[in-house]
Subunit: 212 residues, 2 copies
Amino acid sequence: MIRVMIADDHQLFAEGLSRALNGIPDTRVVGVVDSGDALAEALENQPAEVCIVDIEMPDGDGIEAISGLDSRFRSIVVSMHASDEQKARAKDAGAMGFFSKGVPLATLAAAIRAVAGGEMLIDYDDSARDEVLGRFMSAKLDPGAEALTPREVELLQLLASGVSATDELAERLYISQKTVKNHLASIFQKLAVADRTQAAIEAIRLGFANPQ
Amino acid sequence: MIRVMIADDHQLFAEGLSRALNGIPDTRVVGVVDSGDALAEALENQPAEVCIVDIEMPDGDGIEAISGLDSRFRSIVVSMHASDEQKARAKDAGAMGFFSKGVPLATLAAAIRAVAGGEMLIDYDDSARDEVLGRFMSAKLDPGAEALTPREVELLQLLASGVSATDELAERLYISQKTVKNHLASIFQKLAVADRTQAAIEAIRLGFANPQ
DNA sequence: GCGCGATTGGGCCACTAGACCCATCTCAAA
DNA sequence: TTTGAGATGGGTCTAGTGGCCCAATCGCGC
């Protein structure tokens, strides 16, 4: 679990990103602040491995804020209007990553994992960076969750979306009720849960629930 | 349930906002597009009551996009750098709401409810608008969910946190297993679900799960 | 006081879920 | 080619679930 602190004065963005990252199994947002000055203060009370810092903020520019941070706090700078000189400033200030707000969530999540693992993403050029990020794309799931087979994942998604009855699961997957129960038994063991209710909850927590 | 379509080219923002709104019981994001041109197209296949539209977008400015929309699709314009001139343009184009991206999520959620209910938020001045929004601040739960008794909510929270076995629920609540089953039966009816798995999923969706 | 809903229980019963065995088939990797 | 994992099934059994009755107690408001 990587603890993340967000510094951004646009609340819609910060709250949305916070919820999005909390929906990813291995990242957890432990705090949101709306100015550069508040960042260092928040980190004293609530340590975090990675900070997501916006450049454009009142009361303490984001880049100034991270230049004053303890080096054990790693930072990723995000900007609405990303430019090369902003990137250079971010690098000088000690940021380990630099992204436009136009990147997909999955990319930022990968960057968080990479930075938490010590990668200086900001040193790479674009293609090299993407190669590195590719290695961090998949969320490190619980040991049990990654052992799930494709078919088990399929069943789990259905379960997490509210299809709980054996006969309905069987219909949806074009298999017999018996096979549904066999898959479920295997899922229970891998997720270390006792019944389909706990499996569904765990599936939602792990992000297996497909939205809509 | 208010269906929401998001048009924003900043994926981090759009994905974050999408997840945030889906976490609110009475709003559901049914689509995300990254340009003004794609908005009208998406609405044909997937109708929505309210559109959240960013101004700054490539391939079709957000304001141009909503001016061409059918009037049954109501729009709220959000902007990174909100100005009076932008607000006037949004109003002329038929937007029913106008907000900076700096507003809290709860405000936008209230605005979505207000606009879905036909309020022309954009016509009010700031103080009058906040007064109107205040009336829409609380999420309207599903009719069934608000009929839940305190004890039923307590049980549902436990269930949503993974306590699925009858005997454990009984222990935690200091009541007999029989009473647990009675409460569950009542919950099933009120939430219109069939079993505890669906009840747990619905409880999580409704925000009854207490995190951590 | 009187009703009403919430909370707490009981009994009964059909059905289901989950645990434990097992077999077959396919496909890809070694 | 053989081995192993995955997917598909079967049978059986016990404990548990959920549906449907019912009743006593306790507050709270009318």
